[in-house]
Subunit: 349 residues, 2 copies
DNA sequence: CTGTTAGCGCATTCAC
DNA sequence: GTGAATGCGCTAACAG
């Protein structure tokens, strides 16, 4: 059997309580005693049984997730993953709650963060909006000792503890690279549809995309960015206009949401190379139909679980192994689509 | 607080032991009593605290992983992931051990399975070889009540409890589809390098690849399969011969291992579209250098953790949600490469 | 068939 | 400064 606290207590000639003080780095232990205990710990190769520790602590971690409201399918999937994680979070002694705020509404987001902070939240995860009042609210929460992570969209200036999401510049580069290879020597310009250039992740994706396109062996024109506000109707209108104006369009990169509108506007035009973000019902269907050629995805489930792990670690004052929490950029084409999500997918991976 | 066994015992008017019997579906409870308890469980919305349950059980699950020996980088990565999982398996009360057997050696594999079965193994995970004696050994283990899962390479005929690995036909299709799109209208035949056509996963990948190539709008010749025995030296020789014999080669699909030899033979020929399997140091470097264009990967860490979950579930007689345990086919190009693995990556996702 | 009791490994009062 | 005792939620003998 693995050594337990009893073993190290006996081996060090002290009591359980003292061992516990050393283990949890609490005061009230003489340096010599501490050294003895630490020696025993090292000698026996003790590793704490986290499950038992949590059981004994009895402490629960109320974590608040703040996500934008609205129809954005990815955000709804994210919310669903939070709720799912919440149901399975029993063992981790976390209690997850979701708060939705109007899209792009900095004031509402700031208010939600403040509200979470005054509640007994042990941690806050929020899809950030790039605005000073949001940064200020995050600052206040952290001032109050509550760890905060940004989710999907970052706000580095806020001093948040951690960002859970993908490297969006790399995502844009990946899109550009795939687009270039898929198009090969075929002529014609490519267009970009974004949600809003006021959002950080969209700016990053565009930057990466342009860089990758510029690095391609054959030059290809990239048309001015269209903004669809992540809204299907607006996006559809923009794309319809684009198709009418640019008959020889070769490719289209949709780096935001609102893809159902895009698909509707495209209406079977499978000659254009289309790359979009986030695997949702819309993009999956379009991929299967051959309207979209590739989808870049960030796994919402992974992100939620990562956020929970990070917040718990921060709440306990434990370190976070950044490399371990990196979120991957998944590439999906028609042939490697995972089976459609059913009842209760995922738990570990 | 969440309801506990005490709450449901009180609510149902029975003792803890009875509640436990119902929860764990053990005999010795009258139907009426059982019904009462189940009603209380449902009414209170009770969910068992697995961590506490495991703590109380004290039971450990010795799981044996059997993987091929040799230099195959993917297999070594798999072994590393098993050891890593072993170090973190404390909380899950599993004890992982690794046994290596000579590559493609059915007799040795069968013997290893038998040996694991006579030890006190609670479960066996093995990279299967397609041979009757292996199937027989798996049958014996299962006869002895020991759950068995096949890992990476399946052997459905053995009656194994579960297969942990990717859909290799889909993987081949993905490779073919990418190859076709990357090549576009460019002329020239494509070649396939396999390890051995006697292995199931290689046959599956080939099948998928051929199907995808055949489905492409432009016809493209696929040369007869080369077999490199998953060996770098043999592979290098085969590829060198290929390059000499087919000057207008357009693409190359490496569906097995031995990729370091392939890269050596290619020596900077970045004009050929190359797609390979498994992200290892070799393939990563070749991807970054532009020698390999895409790598299809199965995440060894995910596979190990899935195998552990499945074996534990089977050992406890619990159901396995298949959809939850599906292993994805990752596509990597130069631009979405994850950071190189460092010290202690992964834990959850 | 059902109930009592004693831990699993750890954290935490409260004494000394 | 240090130790003894109690309990987290659950399981597993052992009684009845």
């Amino acid at each position: 059997m693995r050594p337990t606290v009893h073993d190290i207590a006996e081996s060090a000639g002290v009591s359980l309580a003292t061992v516990d003080r050393v283990l949890n780095d609490r005061p009230g232990v003489r340096a010599v005693t501490r050294a003895k205990v630490e020696a025993a710990i090292a000698a026996l190769g003790y590793v704490r049984d986290v499950a038992a520790a949590n059981l004994a602590k009895g402490r629960v971690y109320p974590l608040v997730f703040i996500v934008p409201a609205g129809e954005n399918p990815f955000m709804r999937a994210l919310e669903a993953e939070i709720r799912r994680a919440g149901r399975h979070s029993a063992a981790e002694r976390t209690r997850l709650s979701v708060v939705t705020v109007p899209v792009f509404d900095a004031a509402a987001l700031a208010a939600a963060i403040d509200a979470a902070a005054v509640s007994d939240a042990a941690g806050i995860a929020a899809v950030a909006v790039d605005a000073p009042e949001v940064a200020a609210a995050i600052g206040r929460a952290r001032e109050a000792g509550i760890p905060v992570v940004t989710l999907v969209s970052d706000l580095a200036a806020s001093g948040r503890d951690h960002f859970v999401g993908v490297d969006n510049i790399a995502a844009g580069r990946t899109a550009g690279s795939l687009m270039g290879r898929f198009l090969g020597g075929r002529p014609g310009p490519v267009a970009v549809l974004a949600g809003s250039m006021r959002v950080r992740d969209h700016r990053d994706r565009l930057e990466g995309f342009l860089a990758a396109m510029a690095a391609m062996p054959v030059h290809r024109a990239v048309l001015p960015v269209l903004e669809g506000q992540d809204d299907p109707a607006v996006s559809q209108e923009r794309i319809a206009g684009l198709l009418a104006a640019v008959p020889d369009l070769a490719g289209l990169y949709s780096l935001g949401a609102g893809n159902s509108g895009l698909v509707a506007a495209l209406a079977g035009r499978s000659d254009i190379c289309v790359i979009a973000h986030e695997l949702t019902a819309d993009t999956r269907a379009a991929l299967e139909a051959g309207v979209i050629d590739a989808v870049l995805n960030q796994d919402a489930g992974h992100e939620v679980r990562s956020a929970v792990r990070v917040l718990r670690a921060k709440a306990d004052g434990l370190p976070v192994i950044a490399a371990q929490e990196r979120i991957r950029i998944d590439i999906f084409i028609r042939d490697n689509l995972p089976p459609a999500a059913e009842e209760e997918p995922h738990q570990g991976d």
